[in-house]
Each structure stands twice: as C-alpha cells, then as structure tokens.
C-alpha cells in the first residue's frame, strides 16, 4: 500500500508534463499580478468581460505582491540548496558555512551600488547599476571561495565542516569590525526599487539555470569526478583526477551563484547588515533542505526546499515563537529517520517501471558511455 502511494506520488512529481505545466503556471503567475494592478488603476471598464474579470481580481486578489515575494523566497532557497548540494552532496564536502558566500555577494553588490557609509570609498567602484553590481557580487564571492577553498578544501570530513563554520563566524566578526565596509551596526541601505515581478522572474530564471546547470554537470566527466571524490578520494586521485582542482572548481561555481543570489536578495530587501546576511540559519536551511530532498541528487534540493518552505510557512503562521525550535528538531528527525531524503524513498522502488527511468533521467545520465569517465 505504502509502496503504491509512493509510486503514485513519484509518477506525479517526476512526470515531465507535470513539471512543464508547473513551470508555465509559475511563469504566468505575475501576469495576474499585473492584471490586478491594471484593474486598480483603470478608470472605467469598456466591456462586461473586463468588468467581471476585474471584479474577480479585485475581490479575490489571487496573486498579490506578498505571494510573489514568498515564491521568490522559495526560488532563492532552491538555488541556495542546489548550490550547496554541489559541494555538499556531489563531492561530499559538507559545508557548514556556505552562507558566507551569500553575505559576500550581498555586501559586494551593495558596495558596488554605492551604499558605502565610508567617505573614502573609491568612486570608480561605486554607483554601478544593478546588473553589473550583481555580477560583481558573484565575482567577489567566487574570488573569496578560491582563496578560502584553497586552504579549507585540503581538510577532510568534519574538519572541513568546522573550518567552514569558522569561516562564516570569523567573516561575520571581521565584517562587523570593518564598519567602513559593512556599515557596522547601521548596516547598508541600497537604492529602493520595489518591483516584485522583476525579482520573481530573476530568481525564477536563475533557479531554472542552476538546476539545469547542475543536471548537465552531473552528466559530464566533471560531475562524475566529483562523485568519485565523494566515494573514494584517494582512489579518484590514483585514477588521475586532479581532486583539488575539481573540488575548488565546484566550490567556486557554487559560491559564484550563491553570491549572485545574495546580491539579488540584497537589492530586493534594500537593507542589509552583518547579522542578516551572515545568518547561520541560512546555512542550516541549505543543509536541511538538501538532506530532506536527498543529498547528491539533482531533484532532491528542489523538492526538499519547496516542501520545507511551505511547511515552515505553516509553522510560521501558526506557531511563530516556536518555529526555530521546530527547525532544530526537524533537522534531527530528518537526519535520524530519513537520512537518504525523499529521493532515497523513491529509490527503494524496484526499478524497471517507467517512473524509475524518469528518475534516473533526473538523477544522472549514465557516465559509463563516455570513454574518459
């Protein structure tokens, strides 16, 4: 019975058509928002259709700015978890400080957009427009990842995890002390730009890009090498894989994308300070969502993030005071009882059905085919 239920759920989630429909619905959602806005501003309605549609939209408000914002947050979480999964899941280097790249990206973008509170901030890296500044934030974050990864990625297992936790905490304190950079306790204010659909589409696009990128990476020799590093690092090295280079590359890609998202988030939020962007909870989110979905799978972080985001939304709405306690306990429960995540549950199904094939298509294109793998 349980197996059958799982199979049904699986067939729904992993059906290509369902995914396509979901993406189209998500892509069209802001048009309703625009329509509602238009109805609000319209002086008079020219046809009865307009009247009834606008009446419905004004009455029910199916898509509000708040809803778009929530979806944007969900997309951001999916991006972050997918990025985390690149080092944490594929190469098996569990990173407890990945939020540091989010913070670097946020601060990079904010500073490039000219929100520094320091008189001596050079003009040439100030007052950039949003798009180059966002890229700049990503690059700052990637450069930082190369530097820090060069040192920490030599560490194995728990030592790496703790060293990255240390990076996060140390960077937070470092930025707090350098009020020239971080604005200290005052934080930094970015130019205010309230455009919910823009951020919605931007995060939506980045999310699709990231998921497709990771799915593609998984099929390449690079992805196979990462998994080889996870399974047996010494063996991978004997096989001629430059493990350090691979690890640092994956780490840097993840950091770059995380930095970009950090920059986008900073512009959307219009205010950042040290405590907000270097929040430890963000790292926990990434770990927890990837774990819930399934480590080292492409679809895992997507499912895990989406599920956990709405679950948390419910808890948040109903038991505000308890939601962080709830998160800690939930992490324990996930780790103890579903260590392989949701993808692990699906995997136990006997393969051979078409469903399992679909999943395999999501999880990996078999690398056996290529000679060099």
């Amino acid at each position: 019975m349980a197996r059958k239920t799982i199979a049904v759920i699986q067939s729904i989630i992993f059906n290509r058509n369902v995914i396509l429909v979901a993406l189209v619905v998500l892509a069209l959602m802001p048009t309703l928002f625009y329509a509602t806005e238009w109805c609000k501003d319209a002086e008079a309605f020219t046809s009865s259709l307009q009247t009834s549609v606008c009446g419905y939209l004004m009455e029910e408000k199916p898509v509000t700015g708040a809803l778009l914002l929530r979806f944007t947050q969900m997309f951001i979480l999916i991006i972050l978890a997918s990025n985390w999964n690149l080092t944490g899941g594929f190469s098996g280097y569990i990173d407890f400080g990945h939020a540091v790249f989010f913070g670097m990206g946020s601060f990079g973008t904010a500073l490039l957009m000219g929100s520094s509170r320091w008189e001596g901030w050079p003009d040439i890296i100030s007052d950039w427009s949003f798009w180059p500044a966002m890229l700049g934030g990503g690059i700052v974050s990637a450069v930082f990842a190369v530097l820090i990864g060069w040192a920490t990625l030599r560490l194995k297992g728990p030592y790496f995890s703790i060293a990255m936790l240390g990076t996060l905490v140390a960077m937070r304190e470092f930025m707090r002390l350098n009020s020239n950079l971080s604005g200290g306790g005052l934080g930094l204010s970015l130019p205010v730009y309230l455009n919910r659909p823009l951020f919605y589409y931007l995060s939506f696009a980045i999310m699709i890009f990231v998921v497709l990128l990771i799915r593609w990476l998984r099929t390449t020799e690079f992805g196979a090498s990462l998994v080889a590093i996870r399974e047996d690092e010494v063996g991978a090295e004997m096989r001629g894989i430059n493990t350090t280079l691979h690890k640092i590359t994956a780490f840097t890609i993840a950091a770059f994308l995380t930095g970009i998202v950090g920059g986008m988030w900073a512009y959307q939020n219009t205010f950042i300070d040290v405590n907000i962007v270097f929040e430890q909870r963000r790292t926990i989110d990434m770990v927890m969502m990837s774990m819930l979905g399934g480590l080292g799978t492409v679809a895992g972080p997507v499912i895990g993030s989406a599920l956990l985001y709405w679950l948390r939304d419910i808890v948040w709405a109903n038991f505000l005071l308890f939601h962080q306690i709830f998160e800690g306990i939930l992490l324990i429960i996930i780790v103890l009882f579903v260590p392989d995540g949701i993808m692990g549950i699906f995997k136990t199904e006997d393969s051979g059905t078409s469903l399992a094939g679909v999943i395999r298509g999501w999880r990996r294109k078999s690398p056996e085919g290529s000679e060099s793998a």
């Binding site: 560490l155 995890s161 936790l165 990076t167 905490v169 304190e173 430890q280 800690g328 260590p339």
Partner: protein, 298 residues
Amino acid sequence: MDFSDLLIQTLINGILIGGLYAVMMLGFSVIWGVMGVINLAHGDFLMVGAYLTWVLNREYGMEPFLALLIVLPVMFVVGWITQKILINRIIEKPHLIALLVTYGLGIAMANTVKLIYTANPRLTTTQFSGFWEFGEVVLPVTKTLVLVAALLMMIGLYVFLRYSNLGKSIRAAAQNKEAARMVGIEIDRVYAVTFGICLALTGAAGMLLSPLGSIQPFMGSVWTLKAFAITAMSGLGNIPGALLGGIVLGLVENLLATFIPTVGSNFGIIASFALLVVVLVTRPQGLFGGLKAAQEIR
C-alpha cells in the same frame, strides 16, 4: 605603565583565561575521543550552564561559584539523558550524521532559551570582585578564582580517569570498544557516564564564564569553534595538552587585544579560526598530541 608591565599584564590575562578555555574544551574533546561524536551543540550546553548559573544568581541570590554545586549534577543528569535518548542512536553512524544531529540540537536549545529568557545579554554578579595589585601589575580576583576552579576540575577529571574503576573503563572504551565489551565493561553505561561528566564540565565552564562577560542564547557557536580550535591543537582527551592549548589561545587573543587597539579585542574568534586553519593545514595530526591518536586518553 611601561611596555614590560603591559606585556606581563597581557600574559597574565592570557593565562588566566586559558584555564577557562581548557576546562571549556575538555568536554568536547573527551566526547570526541571516547565516542567519536563531534558535538556541535557543545557551545549551547555551555550556554545552558551559564543560564542556569544566572537564574540561580538572580532568583535566589546565589554566589555563582557556589552554584557549581548545583550546575555540575544537573548538567550530569542532562548529559546522561541526552546520551540515552539521542546520542546513543548516532554513535555508530558516520561523522556527518552526528554533526547534523548535534547542530539541530544546538539550534533547538538556543531558541528554547531565547524563548524563555529573551535574547537580552545577561550578567551574573559575584562577590569575589576587585583586584590584587602587585606594583603596576594587577590580578583580577574573579579571573584568578576561575583559573583555580578550572584547575581543580581538571585535576579531578585527571585523577578520575586515571585511578577510578569507572575512569579506567572509559579509557578502555576509548582504546578498543570491542575488547572493552569482552572484558565485561558495559559500553552503554560508560558512554552515558562519559557524556554526563563531559556535560557537567561544560556546564561548569559556562558557570565560570558567566561572571566574566555577558551571556546570551546564541553565543554557542563561537564557543564550539573555540573548543574545536583548541582540540585541534591539543589532541583528543589530552588534559595537559588542553591546558596548554587553552593558554595558547588565551595568550593569542589577549596579545591581539592589547597590541592591535580598537579592533583587537574582538579579533578573538578570528584568531582562533586562523589558528585552527593553520594548525589543521600544516599539522593535521595536532600540535601536542594527535587527533588520530584518540586511543590514549591521558
């Protein structure tokens, strides 16, 4: 105050705080050494010990150093129960599982304390304050008492592990679990006692730091990190090494605070992180002992 006095004062402060660091990290490193569990909730247990002291101090006007008599047994029981309910399930599993579970536990604990006592920084007051003056150099009474208490507890732990039957069982379990089981040591009980003792020490360290600076619910991760840094230097379960490592960290922090003004005093966490990474990258086996040589609990 000339330079040599300043230097001596800084060194004294570093050594005084080093004792606290040593007793603070011992719980972490012994748990790791005996059970192979890296306890990321370590700092949060420390925080619980500190809050327990603060409550006793504020509600009942109890002298913080006397509160040790309550904090030690209470935290022992907490540790025993935690081990029985939670840690026992993850001992055999890979490191990652233990990391994540204790991380989750830490979050839950910090937020529970925040829920009850809010996030405001708190401070306990002790009667043993003031300074002993020796010329230009002063010896703060509270910090000296903290060092003395820390040393007493470490000697107690050392004697316990060295000479008592239970202590010998703990060392045996750390060396070879299967062999220990074969000679009739109840591993589960040994683990529960170890966890209890380690948490009692950790809670005591929380008490010791509560009169020195403000405490707040989310201070845990910083202390976990410091514990890890000292463990990386001193090796697992190595008590003399712990003292040495604690003093090294205390000295580094205090030297930075004195000689790099304005920013130095807050550089503590960055210093311990830099120390950690340098040690791990250059000497992965640790400075004074060995992380791998976990068998020998000295």
